[in-house]
Structures are given as C-alpha cells and as structure tokens.
C-alpha cells in the first residue's frame, strides 16, 4: 500500500482523530467526579480559612458540614431567595443580567456566629478572589482570606499571605453613623487607628487596588442584608 497517497493520508487522519477523541472523552468523563470533588473541597477550605480554620483537603468536607450551619442566597435587594448557595458561581452573577444570586455562608461554633461573604475581582495579571468573614454584629471583620491566579511573586502574590490578611481582623465596614465605608487597602500604610484601612503591599499597587475595588464593590451588594 502506498503510504504517501492522498487517500491513505486522509484515511489515516480520520481514524487517528476518532481514536484520540474517544480516548480523551472517556478519560475526561471518568475523572470528572474526582476533579469536581477537588474543586469543591478547595472552596470549602477557602471558606473555612476566612474564619481561621485551616484544614487539609481530606478533612474539608467534614469540617465544612460541622461549622457552616447555613447557606443563604440573596438577590440584589438583599432579600433571601431559594437556591443552592454553594453552587453559585459568583463571577457569572456579576456578568449576567436579570435575577442575581449572591451567596452568604453562616458559620456557627460555640455560640459565635460569623457571616462569610465571597469576593471576586481583578488583580494585575488575572483574577483574584477571597472570602471575608464578619462577626455577628455584621460589621466587624473576623477574618479574610485572599488568593490569586498569577500575581507577581513576592509582590502582588503576597495577598494570600498571613501578614497581609491578618490586619483585616477587627476592621469595620460601617462607620459610627452606620454609613457604608468598606475596607480599603491604603498605599503607604494605613494611619494608626484607621478602622477602615489596612496596609497595601509595596510594589503591588495594582493588586492592592484590585483588593480594595473587590471589597468596595462586593460588600456594597450585601449592605441591605448586613443592615437588616
């Protein structure tokens, strides 16, 4: 048989493509449940991290069931609606028109109640995201965890480090008169006693601004709920 004839070449390509497609389709379908489980557990880990609970991926499911007692979906007016809060893809909610769903997770342990709000935003090179936990007064920050896809190592990438996240604890998102202030990441360092500001990262200005923008925009959406 002439290996270099047109007929043979086309036939070879078709057979090859079909075999490869079948193989990859089976592999993808077969591994999907495990991959999804990893993604879900990572999300649980991140949610728990914002209230200061560090668990391994294997423990995530149990710890999540134990501590997160309620999952609520809010619409854009801050009213509670039906829905599965855990499955809401918050990035899509910002983009989509019409009815919006914003999830909020409630943590309860030993009498203390915390409200965990997911955040999404933009850094310098790509998406950044995180969770911020509020104390039962729905005002004081109990903890925050951020992560990023590809910020500059040593600069913007530091947002997932403890030294950046810890100063958020104790900050307030409303001022004394109850007006919305959010929390800002301040370049050059937040002044002593500033209830709404934390230190930015030197050399990571755009990522820091991204964190501020993410907090201001996202917490605003939850304002009606937090004030109720």
């Amino acid at each position: 048989m002439d290996v270099n004839s047109n007929k043979y070449t086309i036939g070879f390509s078709i057979v090859m493509v079909v075999i490869v497609a079948l193989l990859l389709a089976f592999a993808s379908e077969g591994l999907k449940p495990m991959q999804n489980q990893n993604i879900e557990r990572e999300k649980m880990q991140n949610i728990l991290k914002s209230v200061g609970i560090e668990v391994t991926r294997d423990e995530a499911q149990d710890a999540y069931n134990k501590y997160i007692t309620e999952e609520i979906v809010l619409n854009d007016k801050g009213e509670q609606i039906e829905g599965d809060a855990f499955k809401v893809d918050i990035l899509k909610e910002y983009k989509s028109g019409g009815q919006k769903n914003f999830p909020i997770f409630i943590y309860e342990s030993e009498g203390s109640k915390k409200y965990i709000i997911p955040l999404v935003g933009k850094g310098l090179w790509g998406p950044i995201w995180g969770y911020i936990a509020l104390e039962s007064d729905k005002n004081t920050v109990a903890g925050a965890s951020f992560d990023h896809k590809g910020e500059t190592p040593g600069l913007g990438a530091e947002i997932n480090q403890g030294w950046f996240q810890e100063p958020f604890v104790g900050k307030k998102i409303f001022d004394e008169s109850g007006d919305y202030q959010s929390i800002r990441v301040i370049k050059g360092g937040a002044p002593e006693g500033d209830k709404h500001g934390v230190d930015a990262i030197s050399g990571g200005t755009i990522t820091s601004n991204g964190v501020t923008e993410m907090l201001v925009r996202t917490l605003k959406i939850y304002e009606p709920y937090l004030k109720s």
């Binding site: 592999a27 591994l31 993604i39």
Partner: protein, 218 residues
C-alpha cells in the same frame, strides 16, 4: 529481536542523555519549563514524571507507527499523539494531585511544545524500533528530570530555606537560621533569572569535568 534490550548500544541510549548528550545542558532543549517550574522540588519532580510518561508514550507509539504514518503529515500526527498524552496527564493530575496541578498550571499543557519531545520523535522514534525508542525516551526524560530536580533543589533551598519533597512534604532546613541569626533567604532564587544562572553554573561544572563537551576555539 536480534540484540538484547540491555546491550551496550542500548545502554548508551540511556546513559548519554544523562551527561554527554543531556537535553537541557548540552542540546539546550526544554529550557523554558526548566526555568518556570523549578521553584520547588516537588513541582519539578511531578513535571519530570509527567515528561517521562509523555515522552515514553509518544516515543513508543510513534516508533510503532513509524511505517504507517504518512510522511507528509508526520509532524501533525506526532503533535496529536503528544497532545493527547499531555491532556491525559493533565486530567490525571487534576484528579489525583490537585495542588501540584495548580502549581504547574499551564506548564503541563506546555509539555506539548517541549522541544525535547518533538526532538526525540523526529530524531529517534521515526527511525528506530520501539524497544530502542523506549530506552531513548527513558534516558532523555531522566536527563531532563535530573537537571530539573538539581536546579529546584538549589533554588528552593536558598530561595525559601525549605525542601518540598513528594510524599514526605515540606522540610524546613534554613528557616530557623533565618529566624535566629539574621540570615536572609535569597529572594532572587525564586525568580526565573536565577534558574537560568543555576543551569549555567551546572553547565560550567559539567564542562569542566567533561572535556569532550568543550568546543574548540577557532
């Protein structure tokens, strides 16, 4: 088979890429990934295993098909084979070692464009039997992986003061020194330029010990 799988000629296929014909330090192939994923020993290790798997798979498959692949579309055929294997590796990593797969991120996908793989397919697998191609793949993947792990060892040790080994996990080595004596980790080690310099130092040492590799001055 007329000659044994472990004949002298075949053993040379495995040994050469480790030193005299190393894909990274002598052929200077696959440099990009060597720079990108050598911040931690564990990621370098997983990358090396992934390349080992892809290279063996691709080399053996191409070698088996070498008489039926139409020569006009052989590069496309090779790419399809490599790409499928890489996608398989990526899916498996996502399912079983999710954290490592996140760190490797796009670099698993970029194994497709790793010059070592296409280089070996073109230069070796298309003209040799599957057994020899298998050994050639093993040799080259080890040659590649060895450099990756050596570079990652020095970058992680001096850059972060730790060694993250597969299975064992993270071992703190210089961190207490950093906390107690004012020793500072060299942050530059974590950045890509230092990988290039580390590879350069490796090449320097290798050539000073292996005179064959030194080009003559004209």
């Amino acid at each position: 088979m007329s000659e044994s799988l472990f004949s002298k000629k075949n053993m040379k296929l495995i040994k050469d890429p480790l030193n005299d014909d190393n894909p990274i330090t002598v052929q200077v192939l696959g440099i990009c990934s060597a720079l990108a994923i050598t911040v931690k020993v564990e990621t370098a290790f997983v990358m090396a295993i992934s390349v080992l798997f892809v290279l063996i798979g691709a080399n053996v498959i191409v070698s088996l098909l070498r008489k039926v692949i139409p020569s006009r579309i052989r590069i496309i055929v090779q790419l399809v084979i490599v790409a499928s294997l890489v996608i398989l590796v990526d899916q498996v990593l996502k399912a079983f070692v999710y954290d490592v797969s996140k760190q490797l991120s796009v670099f698993v996908g970029l194994i497709i464009t790793n010059c070592i793989i296409m280089g070996r397919l073109e230069a070796f697998a298309l003209g040799n039997k599957p057994g020899a191609s298998f050994l050639d793949a093993v040799g080259n993947a080890f040659g590649y992986g060895m450099i990756l792990i050596v570079v990652a060892f020095f970058r992680e040790l001096f850059g972060s003061g730790t060694l993250t080994l597969p299975v064992v996990g993270k071992i703190e080595i210089l961190t207490s020194l950093a906390n107690n004596t004012g020793y500072e980790h060299n942050g530059l080690m974590i950045l890509p330029p230092m990988a290039l310099i580390t590879v350069g130092i490796y090449i320097w040492i290798q050539r000073s010990r292996n005179r064959k590799l030194i080009e003559e001055n004209h």
